[in-house]
Amino acid sequence: MNAEIVHRGPDDAGVHVDPGSGVALGARRLSIIDLADGHQPVINETGTVAGALNGEIYNFESLREELLRAGHRLRSRCDTEVLVHLYEEHGPDMVHALEGMYAFVIWDAQRRRLLAARDRFGEKPLFYVARGRELVLASEATALTRTGQASSAVSAAALDEYFVLGYVQAPRSIFAEIRQLPPAHLLTWSQERPHPSVTRYWSPPAPSGEPTEEPFAELVDEAEELLARSMRGRLHADVPVGLFLSGGVDSALVGAFAADQISGTLKTFTVGYDVGGTSEAVPARALAAALHSDHHELVLTGSEMAVRAPATLARLDQPLADQAFVPLHLLAAQARREVTVVVGGEGSDELFGGYPRVRWMDLAGRMARRLPDSALRSVGAASRRLPAGGRAGRFAQMLATRSLAERHLGCVTAGRPGTRASVYGPALAPLADSDLARGWGVEQVPGRHAAADLMRLDQTRWLPDDVLAKADRATMLTSLEMRTPFLHRELGEFAASLPAETHLADDGKAIVRALVRRRIGPEFAKRAKRPFAVPVGDWLRGSLGATLGEQVAGSALYRDGWFAAEPVGRLLAAHRRGEADHSAVLWPLFSLGCWWEAQE
């Protein structure tokens, strides 16, 4: 399996086999700290505990101090060694000491117990398959299928979820037999009781419904202090560090901290497009000038996308419909020529209230509660006559939807749930009415703001399964490590301790904007959230549309009855003729088609 994940760690590889139990750990390494002594897996002095880590433990140095004080003997400056000793000290509760992005496995030969864990926000993936007395884990699901450790049969429920949401939600994976360990969960398994036990060790604190009495300036101070602390840990590397600069406020703020904290010039990277109106390149250039960075710009053309997109999407571990995946991967490949680590603004939108829809949905819910059903039916009818994709139409649609979960689903998926009946083939058709929002725990309760629940939903679902899966895959495919300063445990807990209205003031992300004003300048704090920064509609009208047409005509995805070729073909034709924008349906199918072919 090590050979299947070379891109995650091209610098080194290791295997540890415990002959008494038949348990084996393998690891690949991308050297970032302690370049010479970081070999994995790490085994303790007595040979009883072995560990392998994917990711980074940012507080490993203070943990190391604490372990030395408690009498442990450590040989390297490497975080994986700290994990092994921390396990000796605390057992599975060791996770409560960790700050970082990680998925790790520890084998305790004495207790014949295996422990696996995933970080709190879900930055690093971990998949597993449990069969009889066997347990096999890997950082990538396809490392399990390609080596024959798990069947490559897909799960219909996961496909349904993928089509609607654009990603597969943990604990499911796209493969029927493989599970994904959710963020902030522990897995324990022992040879005596081989059924793995999966438990949650942390969750984002429930948001407050009460307005805070704390002065806003003090909250901004607190966030600044925590972000500075987070940056110190994340800029620690023995290799060059760069920044993905999008032109928005999040990466701008990360850039301001990074420029202050690193020695030498910060290297920044931005992607832009040759199709007008959607480029982040211009604001990013202004920011780069303000940060005095060594700025690199990648301009993606439609023809380049036509060549690169299918092959890039084919390398996804699980299907992902996020339109930014391909551009992000190509940018990562460019950045990798200059740096080994990048920092980015991921997580800020989810923790600090960056999505305007949250406020709109909350407002729609409160208005809808006051209207009788007949009025809502009229609004629903009117919404269908308003221009598709327009603000008024979208708001009317929200208003006409009674349940908060449905309102959310309709909004974030551009209405895909309703298209299932027409595009699903016979294999998926029974799922065309499935309720994907079940178990989300969001409902509009009188007297309570729905905004906080929606922010939490974004943090627990969309963030790990889309945003972070995209970031991890896009960067690790080219052996670049991405670090996310906003996803710091204490910063996250701090953000969750504040009521949603504090975050949603100032057009959303009030605290982040205040910090940008303070650290860079007021002119950089105004950037509004742009819902679609990637011109996939244009690309699908060009040669990517032709590729999708070939998929519809020949791919097993349609042949085997998962999706229906004829209605999809009709949507594609209308889109290519410019009669309507169907990219919300076509892009997920295109991305899935590319991935599907690679599995065959």
Binding site: E66, R69, W202, P205, S497
Partner: protein, 366 residues
Amino acid sequence: MSAPRVLMITPDFPPQRGGIQLLAHRIAAHLRESTVRVLTLGHAEAGPWDRREGLDVVRVAGEGSHRADVARLNAAALREARRFGPDVVLCMHICVAPAATAIRQAFRVPVLTYMYAREVAASRRLAELSVRISDRVVAISRYTARIAEDLGARRVSLITPGVDAEPATSGSTQRLQRPTVLTVSRMTERYKGHDVMIRALPLIRTHVPDVQWAVVGDGALRGSLQRLAEANGVADAVLMRGAVDDAERDRWLDTAHVFAMPSRVPAGDRAGEGFGIVYLEAGVHGLPVVAGAGGGALDAVLDGRTGRLVDPSDHVAVAGAISDLLTEPAAAARMGEAGREHAREFAWPRIADRLQELITESAGRG
């Protein structure tokens, strides 16, 4: 020279509760070689309280907002100074600096002003005025002294607050069956470190599975701290008692095993723990202490002798120190005893004597 006449002007005085209130009262009660008159604000239960205490207290009716009450106090002070004829004015808060300025000009009386920490950042102009008009600034810790010196104060005396060296409930020191870590603090400021305690609890539990954390004090952060405990899976180990009376607080101090309050220096330019008298109070009750290595705690806790000073932002270090104390009862008891000894040096009569020296010296010069 006869006993100097001291006019203490303070917005904070019992029966209102709080650290400055307590400090002002104990000083007024223990300055035995001075004739003290306290000028302070009215309070609904002030009448019986003042009669019982037998101090010379003049109260200005306080019925409006705090700001309006302080303005009334400032306005009344000059009149009271005319009546009383002080040799020294003792300001217990920088907010009465306007009154002290007027009295100093009118009667050429020396002014002593107490400084803590938080109030300086909250009202910098008043702090600067206080430094300008005070013959001496009394700083309650080295940390506060540095803040005063940064403001330009030239004559700064360090006099820490004191403690009641004999606890009211000295009888039973039977510790609870369940290992108990205690924090006594309002839940109004993040810098007090309640959040760090919550993060530390799961790690303490690996060594002391049945540990409980009792919190005495209330405030607006209580709800979010409760939710943080739930998020970290330790709600069952957290006992939030809210605001309790002195007797119950003393009972907790008598029966807990470790006192912990990892205060940190707050974010921004604001000041944190001025002194942390509560650490000494824990000492009076024989409790070993875990505190943040910064701010006023450096004066109140002797690292390795009366407790442990740790990085207050590092929950792993906090957990390590608390676990050590809970799992090594002999060492913890030794530290608790040393804390009791240490606290005696801060008994109010001793603290008041040091202030008396300053008053006598200032009065002589005035």
